[in-house]
Amino acid sequence: MTTATSKTEASRHIAAEKEKWLRAYRQMVRIRVFEEQVNELYTRALMPGLAHLYSGEEAVAVGICEALNLDDYITSTHRGHGHCLAKGASPDRMFAELLGKEAGYCRGKGGSMHIADPATGNLGANAIVGGSVGIATGAALTAKKLGNGRVAVCFFGEGALGQGSLYEVMNLAQLWKLPVVYVCENNLYNEYTHYSETTAGTILGRAAAFGIEAETVDGQDVRAVHETATRLVNRARAGEGPAFLQADTYRYSGHHVGDINREYYRSKQEEQHWKSERDPIQLHGTWLLEQHYADPGVLEGIAGEARKEMEAAVKFAVEARYPRAAQVSEDVYA
C-alpha cells in the first residue's frame, strides 16, 4: 500500500487508541465520583443501610468490561457499583436503587447489593459471598448451548476463595468447556481480616488444579487488565474454555461506608501508599498525558463532566418517589 494510505491507517489507529483509552479514563473517573456521592449520601443520612465502595479498584471493572460486548454477561458482588457502571448501567437509576426508590433498577427492592440490569447483561450483584459463581457459570452454559457467542464474567473478591461452590463450578466449567471468566479481585482483605490469614497455598493454583487457564494482573493498571481480559475473553468466546484472572488491587475506604476506624486491621501508611503511588486513575492519567492523548485540561474536563453527571443523578434519585405499598407483594412470582 502507498505511504499515504498507511499514514491515514496509522493516524486512524492512533485516533482509535486515543478514544479507547480516554474512554477507559472517563469510566474510571465516573465510578470514583459515583462512590464519592454514595459516601456523601451515607454521611448525610440520605441512604438507608450500608454500601461497599469500589474506590481504588476501578481499573479492574473498567479494564474487563471494556473487553465485553453489551450482551455479554456479568455477575457482581456486594461491592458492585463499579461493575454495574462499567458494564453500562446509568447512575440515576443506580442512585435511585440505593435510596430504595421506585425508579431504581430493582424498583427499590434490591438496594446497593442487588442491582441487576438485563439491558446490560448484568445478572445481578450478590450479597452472598461466592453466591453468583453458579449463576455466571450457568449463563455460560446457556451461551454455549444456544451458540450465541456470549461470554460470562464472574466478579468476586478473594474472600470468595473460601466458598467451596467456586471449586464445584470451576470443575464443571472446565469439563464442559464453558465461556466463563472468573475474575478474582484481590484487594487484600476479607472484611477486617487480611487474606493471607484466610488463604493457604496460592490463588492461581486454585484454578490451575482444574486445568483452567489462570493468570494474574496488576489491577491498578487499566491497560494491563484490558489487554489480559481481552485475551481471556476472546479465548473463551472462541470455545477454548474458562479462564481465571487474579487482579491485585486495593479498596481505599472501609469494608463498608460505616467502617471508619481501620487501624486495628490495616495501617494508614498502607492506605496512603496505595492512594498516592498506585492510584489507577492517576497512573492512567499520567500515561495519557505522556502519550499526548490528552492535556491536563481535557482530564479536568472529564472529571467535571462526571461530577455534573453524578450530581444530577443524585438529584434525580433524591427527588424520585418511593414504591407504593402495594408493590411489596409484587414480583414474588413471575
Binding site: Y105, A116, G134, G138, L141, K145, L146, E168, N171, D331
Partner: protein, 328 residues
C-alpha cells in the same frame, strides 16, 4: 378400550420426554442421569433420545450444578435438575433459597428463574437417617418457590409438565417408594394447575388431608374404615405452595373432623401448616381438634422394626380416625 397404565416413574419420564420434544430449551442435569438413568432408573432412555447435549451427567456437586441451573434458567434454558435423594437438598439451600427464590423479587421483576428441581422423599427403604428424609417443609416456608408433591402417576405427569412450563423455580418431590406404583395416565398432553387440591375420595364423616406418600396411606385407611361404617374423604393439596386452602377447608366444614398427614416431621412441618390453616378456617365447624400425623420426631433409624414405627401407617390412621369419630 381400557385406560393405559403407567408406573409413577414412567409417568415422570413421559412428562420429561414430552416437554423436551416440545421445547428445545429443556435440559436435564444431575448425577448419573444419562446412561444410568439415575439409581431409580426414572430417566432411563432419555439420553438415548435427546443425547448428552441435553441430558448431562455432573460431578457430585449439588450446590454447584444447582447454582448453574439458576444461571442457565435466568438466561434462556429451562433446566430440570436432579437431586438424587431429598436429603442432599441440604447442599442446595443457598442456591435455591438465597438465589433462585429471590432473583425475581430482588431484581424488581427483571430476571426470571424458570427451573425445576426434581428430588425424592420418603422412608422405609432401609436407607437410614441420611437417605430417608422428607424436607418439603423447608421449601414451603420460602416465598419465591413453588412446591409440588404428586401422589399418583396421573398427577406426576400433569404436575411435572406444569412445573417445566412455569416461569418460577419449582421444587418437585417424588416419593421414592412410589416409583413402581401403577395408575392410569393418558397419552395426551395435559397439565395440572398448581394450587388446586384434588379430592381423591369423597366421604362424609372425616377428612384426610394428605400429601405425596401419605395420600396412598389415607386411601388405604379410607377403604378399611368404609367396612366399619366410617366414610372418609381424602383431599390431596398436590402443591404446598401455592396452597388450595379453600378446598381443604370446604371438606373439613363438611366432615367436621380431620387428620392431616405428611411424611415429613409433623413438628414445624407441612402438617403444622395444614393444621393451622384448618383450625383457623374451619374453627366454627370442627367437632374435634385437628389430628396431625407425620414422621416420628427422630432421625430415621436403619433397623426395620424401628423404621416402620416412624412412618404413619393405614392402621395408625384408622385408629386415629375411629377415635376422632368416637368409634373407639
Amino acid at each position: 378400550m381400557p385406560e393405559r397404565e403407567l408406573t409413577f416413574a414412567q409417568a415422570v419420564r413421559e412428562a420429561l420426554a414430552e416437554e423436551m420434544r416440545r421445547d428445545e430449551r429443556v435440559c436435564i442435569f444431575g448425577e448419573d442421569v444419562a446412561e444410568a438413568g439415575t439409581p431409580f432408573k426414572v430417566l432411563s432412555g432419555l439420553v438415548e433420545e435427546f443425547g448428552r447435549e441435553r441430558v448431562l451427567d455432573t460431578p457430585i456437586s449439588e450446590a454447584g450444578f444447582t447454582g448453574i441451573g439458576v444461571g442457565a434458567a435466568m438466561t434462556g434454558l429451562r433446566p430440570v435438575i436432579d437431586i438424587m435423594f431429598g436429603d442432599f437438598l441440604t447442599l442446595t439451600m443457598d442456591q435455591m433459597v438465597n438465589q433462585a427464590a429471590k432473583a425475581h423479587y430482588m431484581s424488581g421483576g427483571h430476571w426470571k428463574v424458570p427451573m425445576v428441581l426434581r428430588t425424592t422423599l420418603g422412608a422405609t427403604r432401609r436407607s437410614a437417617a441420611q437417605h430417608s428424609q422428607s424436607l418439603q417443609a423447608w421449601f414451603s416456608h420460602v416465598p419465591g418457590l413453588k412446591i409440588v408433591l404428586p401422589s399418583t402417576p396421573y398427577d406426576a405427569k400433569g404436575l411435572l409438565k406444569s412445573a417445566i412450563r412455569d416461569e418460577n423455580p419449582v421444587v418437585f418431590f417424588e416419593d421414592k417408594m412410589m416409583y413402581k406404583l401403577k395408575g392410569p395416565v393418558p397419552e395426551d398432553d395435559y397439565t395440572i394447575p398448581f394450587g388446586v387440591a384434588d379430592v381423591k375420595r369423597e366421604g362424609d364423616d372425616i377428612s384426610f388431608v394428605a400429601t405425596s406418600s401419605m395420600v396412598q396411606v389415607a386411601l388405604g385407611a379410607a377403604l378399611l374404615l368404609e367396612k366399619e361404617g366410617i366414610s372418609a374423604e381424602v383431599v390431596d393439596p398436590r402443591t404446598t405452595w401455592p396452597l388450595d386452602e379453600e378446598t381443604i377447608i370446604e371438606s373439613v366444614k363438611k366432615t367436621s373432623r380431620v387428620i392431616v398427614m405428611d411424611e415429613g416431621y409433623g413438628r414445624y412441618g407441612v402438617a403444622a401448616e395444614l393444621a393451622a390453616v384448618i383450625a383457623e378456617g374451619a374453627f366454627y365447624d370442627l367437632d374435634a381438634p385437628v389430628k396431625r400425623m407425620g414422621a416420628m420426631h427422630v432421625p430415621i433409624p436403619f433397623s426395620p422394626p424401628l423404621e416402620d414405627l416412624t412412618v404413619p401407617t393405614e392402621q395408625a390412621v384408622c385408629e386415629a380416625a375411629r377415635h376422632l369419630c368416637g368409634k373407639s
